[in-house]
């Protein structure tokens, strides 16, 4: 077969093998290449840093295991920052998921980070520094009720403890008492928070969508309805760089980079082969 034609029609299984190698091999290489911090990521970081002392943040991990590659890394960096902020300014957070898997995924990350930071003496405790309210249905109606009466709408946490009795919920009665909303979301259901919480109560909101959903969210960033955004896994990589940690996002960023370069390489190769074949055919046609 003609080499130029072959380069234009590489079997997809060959592409898949190359991609598999491109994604897995960099995991064994532990190094960080510095990345430029994008303005939306910086804005989100600054918004969390500037929270007043003793604030309460509503954290919404509305994702399932399917998107945990991106959303899981974003959840980890944001929870890491919130736990650091507990140490600095006693910032508390409550996890509220509208996806049944989200509550468990966020709970596991929170417990792991709690153990890690408590080894450094941060004194983070579930029920005091943070709480997991668990999974709820019907996001729209629930948020509409939540803004008016937080403790009675939530009722119980993931361990069936009454929410109103928890130390972490002291002083939190309605949406006015929530200092910030952080939503990790692979869909566009974050607009419900914008419509019923952020808009009417002017609560600053940060968003961590998957890279595919990020272009749609730029409209809300532009209009100021979202104060900052992590764009997919790359946003989590930038955030880890700002937090000066080497977490799962940074480990995955090398794979991300190599996979991107592989794809660009194949696209350019295919196009070069196509252009060369066309000019060859034109010359052959001209000679004839």
């Amino acid at each position: 077969m003609n080499v130029l034609r072959l380069l234009q029609e590489v079997d997809r299984r060959v592409l898949y093998v190359f991609l598999l190698l491109a994604v897995t091999l960099p995991f064994f290489v532990k190094f960080r290449v510095p990345v430029a911090i994008s303005p939306p990521t910086k804005a989100l970081y600054d918004a969390i840093e500037e929270l007043p002392e003793n604030s309460f943040v509503l954290f919404g991990p509305d994702y399932s295991a399917g998107t945990r590659g991106e959303n899981g890394a974003q959840t980890e960096v944001l929870l890491r920052h919130l736990m650091l902020m507990w140490h600095k300014k006693k910032i508390r957070f409550g996890i509220l998921a509208f996806d049944p898997q989200g509550k468990t995924l966020a709970q596991n990350i929170s417990l792991r980070l709690q153990e890690e930071y408590n080894k450094q003496g941060y004194g983070i405790k579930e029920g005091v520094s943070w709480v997991n309210f668990g999974y709820r249905v019907d996001q729209q109606n629930f948020v509409r009720a939540l803004v008016k009466d937080v403790p009675n709408t939530l009722a119980k946490d993931i361990h069936d403890q009454p929410v109103g009795a928890l130390e972490v919920m002291k002083g939190i009665h309605s949406a006015k008492d929530v200092a910030m909303i952080l939503n990790v979301n692979p869909t566009n259901s974050y607009t419900i928070y914008i419509q019923f919480m952020q808009g009417p109560y002017k609560i600053p909101m940060g968003l961590a969508p998957t890279a595919v959903m990020a272009p749609e969210a730029f409209n809300y960033l532009d209009s100021g309805q979202i104060v900052g955004m992590l764009q997919g896994l790359q946003g989590a990589v930038e955030y880890e760089q700002m937090l000066d940690t080497f977490g799962r996002a940074t480990r995955a960023s090398n794979s991300l980079s190599v996979a991107h370069l592989l794809l660009i390489g194949f696209i350019i190769l295919g196009n070069i082969a196509m252009v060369l074949e066309r000019s060859k055919q034109r010359k052959a046609g001209g000679a004839a």
Binding site: S64, T187, P215, E216
Partner: protein, 254 residues
């Protein structure tokens, strides 16, 4: 926003009035609609499936009982009515149990309205899963096993959109897609033969049926868009010239 503010009070009734007036006047005169290539290709795709003797896949997406899914169902009904004449089988996977009885009824009615009630196979309208990727896996399995010749992807799609499109491409199906999910349009463009972008999706039922009511609604939508464009241009001009026009005009719009 829990209740309408001044902007909504002005714009929504104005746009609704434009749409309703055009619906009423459409019955009196013939309205023009430009050619939409993706929708014209539907008949071509049905024809291809008929020639090859292979079934079609009509996927209405992952939405529940909402406007985009009902619109997708209207398009699917048209496709099934067209295919019923040629005895071409249509498989309709459903992701949301809320919409399942509605889809079942719509598909059955489509066959009945073409005088082919015996062609309706209840097993071809099947609930697969309400989990996004379980639905994608099941639909991909249907595409591979049944070797569909035509794939129609109309409705709300999320990250799994490319799974449907690429598996259809791998079995050699002709694919027509349309979705209001703007983030999935690039994936459909890369993997499908014809793609309907933006509000061409909502124009589809008018385009396919040429119903005067629906055509009038489309013209009304265009007038509503004109109203929005005028508001945007006016607002942008005011915002741009506010410093020049002085403080009094600037504070007027704070």
């Amino acid at each position: 926003m829990e209740h309408a503010n001044m902007t909504v009070w002005i714009l929504v009734p104005l746009m609704s009035l434009a749409i309703l007036v055009m619906i009423l006047t459409a019955r009196k005169k013939q309205l023009f609609i430009r050619r939409i290539q993706g929708l014209s290709a539907i008949d071509e795709a049905i024809g291809r499936a008929t020639e090859m003797g292979r079934p079609m896949l009509c996927c209405i997406g992952l939405g529940g009982l909402d406007v985009p899914t009902l619109q997708a169902l209207a398009i699917t009904s048209y496709i099934i009515k067209s295919s019923a004449r040629f005895n071409t089988r249509a498989i309709v996977p459903v992701a949301d149990p809320q919409i399942y009885p509605v889809v079942e009824e719509a598909v059955r009615e489509s066959y009945v309205s073409e005088g082919r009630p015996e062609q309706y196979n209840p097993d071809d309208v099947r609930f697969l899963s309400n989990r996004q990727f379980a639905f994608a896996a099941a639909t991909a399995g249907i595409v591979y096993r049944e070797k569909v010749a035509a794939s129609f992807l109309f409705g709300l799609f999320y990250a799994e959109a490319l799974i449907f499109a690429e598996t259809g491409q791998q079995v050699g199906a002709i694919q027509v897609a349309g979705t209001p999910s703007t983030t999935q349009i690039p994936f459909f463009i890369a993997a499908c033969d014809y793609v309907i972008i933006g509000d061409e999706f909502y124009a589809a039922s008018a385009y396919l049926s040429r119903e005067p009511t629906l055509l009038g609604s489309m013209v009304g939508q265009d007038i509503a868009k004109g109203i929005l464009i005028a508001v945007i241009v006016f607002g942008a001009a005011l915002a741009s010239f506010a410093p020049v026009l002085g403080k009094s005009f600037g504070t007027l719009f704070k």
